[in-house]
Amino acid sequence: MLSMFRNPAIAIPGAVSLFMVCIALFAPVLAPFDPLAGSLEARLLPPAWEANGDMAHLLGTDRMGRDVLSRLIHGAQISLSVVALALLIAGSIGSALGIVAGYVGGLTEALLMRLVDLALSLPIILIALLFGVVFGPDFGNIVIIISLVLWSQFARMARSETLKIKNSEFIDLARTAGLHPIAIMVRHIVPNVAGPLIVLATLQVGTVIIIEASLSFLGVGVPPPTPAWGSMIAEGRSYIVSEPWLCIIPGLAILITVLAVNMLGDALAETLNPELARRPGGH
C-alpha cells in the first residue's frame, strides 16, 4: 500500500491535493487579512509583482479593497467544505441504498434501481438553478443540491459491488451463523465494497468543486460576501479589461485543485480499480 505513494502519478497530485486541504483547514491562521474587511484606500491594487503593487497584498485587492489572497484562502475552505459535506451525504446515503438493493434483491432492488435510473436521467443542474431562485443562495442548499446530483452514482456502484460478493462463502457462513442481515451488511459487505466507492468519491471531488463554482458564478451558490471562488470570478468579470487578475487568480485556484484531484483519482482508479478508469467523466 505504501509503495503506491512512490508512484509519481499518485505522489505529485496527492501532494497538491493535501496542500489544498491544509490551506482550507488552516484558512483563518494562514490568511493575512480578514477576507470580508475592505478598505477604500486600497481598492483594486494590482498583485505585488506588478509595477505599482503592494507587498502587503501579494495578489492585490478587489473593488472593495479586500485582500485577494485572503479571500482565495478562505474560498478554499468554502469549496472543500462543500465537497466534504456533499460527498459524505451523497456517498453514505447512496452507498447504503445500493448495498441494501444489492443484498436484499427482489422488489426493493427493482424499485431502488429504477429511482437511480430516474435520478441519472434528470438534468439536476437545472433543478439546482430552480432551487437557488426559490430558496435563495445558501451554503446548506448548495450541499443538499449537490448531494442530490451525486447519490445515484454511489448507489449504482455499491449495488454492483455488493452483487459481486453477495454469494461468496464468507457471506454464506455469516448467514448460516444466524447473523442479522443488517449486521452482515455493516460488518461484512461495507468493508469489502468501500475501496471502489472511495475511488469513486475521489473522482467526484473535481465535479463537486466545478458545480459549486458554476452555481456561485451564476449567483445561486454560496451568497456574497462569502469568498467563494465562483463568485470571485463573477465579481472580477466586470474588471477584465483593467484588472484581469481578479478573474485569472481564482480560476487558476479552481483549475489547479481540480486538476490535482482528477489526476489523483485517475491514478488511484488505475491502480485499484481499472474498470473505473474507463469512464469519460462529466460535470
Binding site: 435510473d117 430516474l118 436521467s121 434528470l122 438534468p123 443542474i125 437545472l126 433543478i127 438553478l129 430552480l130 432551487f131 437557488g132 431562485v133 426559490v134 430558496f135 473535481g206 466545478i210 463554482a213 458554476s214 458564478f217 451564476l218 449567483g219 445561486v220 465562483g230 470570478i233 468579470r237 477584465i240 479589461v241 484581469p244 478573474c247 485569472i248 481564482p250 480560476g251 479552481i254 483549475l255 481540480v258 486538476l259 482528477n262 489526476m263 485517475d266 474507463r278 469519460p280 467523466g281 462529466g282 460535470h283
Partner: protein
C-alpha cells in the same frame, strides 16, 4: 425492438412527469401570488375571491392537473418583467441561437476529438498520446465559464482578434463554440482512444492486416467505425453538458439564447420564465437521451435483447 422503444418512452414520460411535479411544487413555494395582486386595503373577502379566480382554493392535485394542461397547451406563464411577454414566446425567440451554438460546438468536438483519439491510440505512450491525454485532462478540470472569460481576455481584449461578445457574424461563434466544445473534445478523445486500443487487438483487425490492407485503411475504416459506437452512447451526456453549459457560456459571451434567458431570469427572480426554461431544457435533455438510446439499440442489437 418495439417493446424496447415503448419501455424507453414510458421511462421518459415518468422522468418528465417527475420533473413537472418538482417544478410545480417549487413554483408553489416562491411566495404568495395572491399578495402581489391585492392592495393594502383588500378585505379577506377580496382575498378569497382572488384565490378562487386563480384556482388556489382547490386541492393541490387539482391545481397540478390544471398546470399540466396549461403546459401541454404551451401556456407556460408570463414573465414578470417588462411587457410581461409569455415565457413560451421568449423561449421560441431565443432557442435558434442556442441550437446553432450547440450544433457548431458538437461538430467541432467530433472533427477534433475523433482524429485526436485515433492518433493517441495508434501512438500509445508517445508524445502525441501524452499531449492528447493532457488536453483531455485539462478539458475536464477547467471551469468552462472561466475558460470562456480567459479566451475572451486573450483573443478579444489583448489581441483584438475576435469580438468580445454578442451575436451576428461567424466571428461571433468562434469563442463561445470553442469554450463549449473543449469538454466534449476531451471526452470524445478519451472515448475514441480507449475503444480504439481495444479494437486494434481484435481478431478481425488482425485478419484485415493479414489480408494485406494498408494500415491507414485498417485504422481509419475498419477500426474507427466500431470505435465510434461508444461515442454514440455518450452523445446524450454531451448534449446535457451543452445544455447546462449554455447557461454559463451564453452568460459570459452575451449570446442571445435560452441559457442567457435563464440567467437573466435568475437575476430578476423571474420565476415563471425560469420554470418554463427548465421544463423546456429538461424535455430537450430527456428527448436527446431517448433518441441516442434508440440509435444505439439500432446500431448494436445486443442492447435490445441483453440489457435490463
Amino acid at each position: 425492438m418495439l417493446s424496447f422503444i415503448s419501455k424507453r418512452f414510458g421511462e421518459m414520460a415518468v422522468a418528465l412527469l417527475l420533473m413537472s411535479v418538482v417544478v410545480f411544487l417549487l413554483g408553489r413555494m416562491t411566495g404568495d401570488p395572491v399578495a402581489l395582486l391585492l392592495s393594502d386595503y383588500s378585505t379577506p373577502q377580496d382575498r378569497a375571491r382572488v384565490e378562487q379566480e386563480l384556482g388556489l382554493d382547490r386541492p393541490l392535485v387539482e391545481q397540478y392537473g390544471a398546470f399540466i394542461v396549461n403546459v401541454l397547451k404551451g401556456e407556460l406563464g408570463n414573465s414578470i418583467m417588462g411587457d410581461q411577454s409569455p415565457a413560451a414566446d421568449l423561449i421560441l425567440e431565443r432557442f435558434p441561437a442556442s441550437l446553432q451554438l450547440a450544433g457548431v460546438a458538437l461538430l467541432i468536438s467530433f472533427l477534433i476529438g475523433v482524429p485526436l483519439g485515433v492518433v493517441a491510440a495508434t501512438h500509445r505512450g508517445k508524445t502525441l498520446d501524452v499531449a492528447a491525454r493532457l488536453v483531455a485532462l485539462i478539458g475536464q478540470s477547467v471551469p468552462i465559464f472561466w475558460l470562456g472569460i480567459m479566451l475572451m481576455y486573450f483573443f478579444s481584449v489583448r489581441l483584438h482578434l475576435l469580438p468580445t461578445s454578442g451575436y451576428g457574424t461567424a466571428a461571433h461563434f468562434v469563442l463561445p463554440a470553442a469554450t463549449m466544445s473543449l469538454f466534449t473534445i476531451a471526452a470524445v478523445t478519451r472515448l475514441v482512444r480507449a475503444s480504439m486500443v481495444d479494437i486494434l487487438n481484435a481478431e478481425y483487425i488482425k485478419l484485415a492486416r493479414i489480408k494485406g490492407l494498408s494500415e491507414s485503411v485498417v485504422i481509419w475504416k475498419h477500426a474507427l467505425r466500431n470505435s465510434l459506437i461508444p461515442v454514440l452512447t455518450f452523445m446524450g451526456s454531451f448534449f446535457a453538458n451543452m445544455i447546462t453549459g449554455a447557461v454559463v457560456i451564453e452568460t459570459v459571451f452575451a449570446w442571445p439564447g435560452i441559457g442567457r434567458l435563464a440567467y437573466e431570469a435568475i437575476l430578476n427572480r423571474d420565476f415563471p420564465v425560469i420554470q418554463a426554461v427548465v421544463l423546456f431544457m429538461t424535455a430537450l435533455f430527456i428527448g436527446a437521451n431517448l433518441v441516442v438510446d434508440l440509435l444505439y439499440a439500432w446500431v448494436d442489437p445486443r442492447i435490445r435483447y441483453g440489457r435490463r
